[in-house]
């Protein structure tokens, strides 16, 4: 009897998660999949086929955007790691107690503001009549106003800024668990800063690095606001294409196909990343 009861409790507790997964993730995807494999042959006439996917591969603009989104996201992930690692190392290893909490909180504080507002903040800074442009003119470095927005660098800045926290948090957690005496032992045995970083710190932090990278990569790949607002109409972000298929063109079939392609891409890249770093998903996410 007790086992039946505990089973009931288990399923009751599990039900919110199952409901969430079923209604918000699985059902829409199944629906989207059926939409994506239906071709429009006439008014309200559909045939099943992979025509929508063929459209993607036959139109260079689409797969160029697709590839561009992928490598920009990878670049943003690496840049975030490059900037986030020293920050995380400083927080985890070189500070203690109150300072540590304060610094950690300072990483978190920007996220109290919505992403839209933060992105507008960047626009205020970077636009032609913005703070940076005016400042450069004021100190006499440039003659006329400069437009910093609507280029790849602006997109990259926005992406790195948006995802920094998601890199720093897992890194701080793993670096925190690195025993200081290991680093000291490394020095004691004749290692220098570089070899210790390469042979001791990075191998130890690898699960954190990988889980941070996965999260940041997925966030960047699926980001819509930042590339559109900071990159302008030339941003060529794949999510932008999906949006326009659904909303502007009313072409849900092609939009759904794009959605699935993006899902496939992110899964593939994460899989390759895990293989390259010799980590497993359970190991990196289970921490």
């Amino acid at each position: 009897m007790t086992s039946d009861k505990s089973k009931l409790g288990f399923f009751l507790l599990l039900s919110p998660l199952l409901l969430w997964l079923m209604t918000l993730i699985i059902l829409p995807h199944v629906g989207m999949f059926f939409v994506s494999i239906s071709e429009k042959v006439g008014v309200r006439q559909y045939e099943t086929g992979f025509g929508n996917y063929a459209v993607f591969f036959n139109e260079p603009l689409y797969w160029n955007t697709f590839a561009r989104t992928a490598y920009m996201s990878i670049a943003a992930t690496f840049l975030t790691l490059l900037i986030g690692f020293p920050v995380a190392y400083y927080i985890a290893k070189l500070t203690k107690g109150r300072t540590k909490t304060t610094l950690f909180l300072m990483c978190l504080i920007p996220f109290w503001v919505s992403e839209l507002v933060r992105t507008f903040g960047w626009m205020i800074l970077l636009r032609e009549t913005g703070v940076v442009s005016n400042f450069l003119q004021y100190i006499g470095l440039v003659d006329g106003p400069i437009e910093f927005l609507y280029n790849d660098a602006a997109i990259m800045t926005g992406l790195v800024y948006t995802s920094m926290l998601f890199m720093v948090v897992p890194l701080v957690t793993t670096l925190d668990s690195l025993d200081d005496s290991l680093i000291e032992a490394g020095y004691d045995l004749g290692g220098n800063g570089y070899t210790i970083l390469r042979e001791i710190i990075i191998p130890h932090a690898m699960p954190g690095i990988v889980s941070g990278c996965i999260v940041v990569f997925m966030l960047s790949l699926g980001n819509y606001l930042t590339p559109i607002l900071l990159g302008g109409k030339d941003s060529l972000w794949f999510t932008g294409l999906i949006y326009s298929q659904f909303i502007t063109r009313f072409n849900w079939e092609l939009g759904s196909a794009f959605g699935f392609l993006l899902l496939g891409l992110s899964s593939l890249i994460v899989f390759v990343g895990l293989k390259l770093s010799r980590q497993s998903l359970t190991e990196t996410m289970g921490r």
Partner: protein, 369 residues
């Protein structure tokens, strides 16, 4: 011993913001010595060791290895290696990579590294474990890998920071002997810090007893045990019965004292400098006290008392008796003789006990107490 000392400290001090951890410590360790620094926790011994390793900079004083000052040498260039308290083996590498770490940093050829790693692993008694991971080793094996990792670099001095602390008692006893053997095998100078006196006494050629940042005494285990120079050493090294007493008469080194409870004692002025009327701390080793059922047996002894057995702390060869002195009610601790004669002693028995004045070492009590 006329050759150059492997390690020498000259008036080494270390102050932190509000207190001085190490005060003017000077000592030198000849080559091939097993040198221990023994002290209670918080006495500054870890700070001292970390200064030798280079992780902390001394506030003043000089530190010499093979007669060369190493104050300006960073820890990764110093010819010393350290075995950390929790060993600090690198869990991300296998054993061979751990042991070879230092050699790789020096840019030694890959083949040569393999060869030397295997040799040193053989010397510590772990041949052929190179490909195993750290977690597959037992506590004692990890210990030996940690030592091998240091010894493969052939350091002038090996520092050990209480490496036996984490082991269980049986293994600790075993590793004491093992460490001593390894030290003899490599013939390297070991500087070993510990708070466990038996580790220090068993293994060391020389022991320094440290308290509140200063060296109280440096000597061999025997010297520290039989001729402690300060009250702290007398109380810290080995067990002792302790009395607070006042000097009533003095004749050369021989003293007459009386305790607060009015017991008269004959003692020896251990380091000189005690005068009539001084307050003294008196130490008597439990094994220096003779017990007997007959008063006649202790008649000739300088100090003679009788007492009732309060409890018997049976511990095989190290069994002890706790007695309550009949004359003053003071508790006294006596090692039970192993001759079998007293095997049938029970609680409540009355026995006579006594000891010689030579075994009663007296020191000037701290002014404060």
């Amino acid at each position: 011993m006329s050759e150059i000392a492997d390690l020498e400290c000259r008036e080494l001090s270390k102050s932190f913001l509000d207190f001085q951890a190490v005060k003017d410590v000077s000592f030198s360790v000849p080559k091939g010595t097993f040198f221990s620094i023994l002290g209670p926790s918080g006495c500054g011994k870890t700070t001292l060791l970390r200064m030798i390793a280079g992780f902390q900079e001394p506030s003043s004083g000089d530190l010499l290895i093979k007669n060369k000052s190493v104050l300006d040498v960073p820890p990764n260039k110093r010819p010393v290696s350290m075995v950390f308290q929790h060993l600090a083996l690198f869990p991300m590498m296998n054993i061979a990579a751990n042991v070879g770490f230092g050699l790789r940093q020096r840019g030694v050829d890959k083949r040569e590294i393999e060869k030397r790693v295997e040799t040193v692993l053989e010397r510590v008694g772990l041949p052929g474990v190179g490909n195993r991971s750290i977690n597959q080793l037992s506590g004692g094996q990890k210990q030996r890998v940690a030592i091998a990792r240091c010894m493969v670099l052939e350091p002038d001095v090996l520092l050990l920071d209480e490496p036996l602390g984490a082991l269980d008692l049986k293994l600790r006893e075993h590793m004491k002997i093992e460490l001593k053997k390894l030290q003899a095998e490599f013939n390297t100078t070991f500087v070993y810090i510990t708070h466990d006196q038996s580790e220090a006494l068993v293994m060391s050629d020389q022991i320094a007893v440290m308290n509140h940042g200063v060296f109280e005494q440096i000597g061999t285990a025997r010297e520290l045990y039989y001729q402690p120079k300060t009250a702290f050493v007398a109380g810290f090294v080995g067990e002792a019965n302790k009395y607070d007493a006042k000097v009533t008469a003095k004749n050369g080194d021989a003293l007459k004292l009386v305790t607060g409870d009015g017991v008269e004692l004959s003692g020896l002025d251990a380091v000189g400098g005690l005068n009539e009327g001084d307050r003294a701390q008196v130490f008597v080793r439990p094994e220096a006290i003779k017990i007997s059922r007959k008063q006649a047996d202790i008649k000739g002894m300088d100090n003679g008392h009788s007492g009732e057995i309060e409890s018997i702390l049976f511990n095989g060869a190290n069994s002890q008796l706790l007695l309550r002195d009949n004359s003053n009610g003071a508790q006294i601790n006596i090692t039970m003789p192993q001759t079998g004669e007293f095997r049938d002693l029970t609680k409540g028995d009355n026995v006579y006990f006594g000891w010689e004045a030579e075994q009663t070492r007296c020191y000037l009590a701290d002014k404060v107490s």
